[in-house]
Symmetry: C2
Subunit: 88 residues, 2 copies
DNA sequence: TCATGTCGCTATTAAAAACGTAGCAATATC
DNA sequence: GATATTGCTACGTTTTTAATAGCGACATGA
């Protein structure tokens, strides 16, 4: 499963999550992701870009069509996660 | 996002995926996961078990109720991933 | 024009995680 | 008692992530 390999890297899911709402600059993204190191952020962004899930726009980094489609499958997971976290 | 932190670790998604269909023993799981090292597999299993997503049964490792619920949200992602992989 | 600030990102060094292989203890099978 | 399988640990190596500093490009304002 190629996708799981890509998403199973640190911050990959978080980056998609944060970009889903709005375009973010590198530094904005960095501060949203609980201070991920710039090295890792840049590496993940490169990976996500070559995977065609994220791209660069004037306003910053944004999800591509594929990225948005992926997020739509990921989104219900967020709601579920909230309940689940509470039950730990 | 606690869930993303847990799932954003190597093999975590793959383990859930493989356990979704049937119960698997440690070694079965190991061979399904493209020869993940036993060290990592055991670490992931511990994490997933304390997270209440996976548990041990007679027949091997299985998803808990929460694990199954999570997988149901994850499943459509698999179909999507197949199409997406093709379009790379 | 020159200081000041922000931005995207690289460099570097250190710590943590994952890998790969060997193998042990326990249980089952013969 | 010999052999095999299972779950898992040990351990040395490689890869990934973290943490921090800071550079070059560009904007702003004095």
């Amino acid at each position: 499963m190629v996708l799981f390999d890509l998403l199973g890297r640190r911050w990959a899911l978080g980056i998609l999550w944060n970009l889903s709402a709005e375009a973010l600059t590198f530094r904005e993204l960095q501060s949203r992701c609980d201070t991920v190191s710039p090295t890792v952020l840049n590496t993940r962004l490169k990976e996500l870009r070559t995977a065609g899930l994220v791209e660069k726009a004037e306003s910053g980094y944004v999800l591509t069509g594929a990225g948005t489609a992926l997020f739509q499958h990921l989104e219900p997971l967020g709601d579920w996660a909230a309940d689940w976290t509470r039950s730990l």
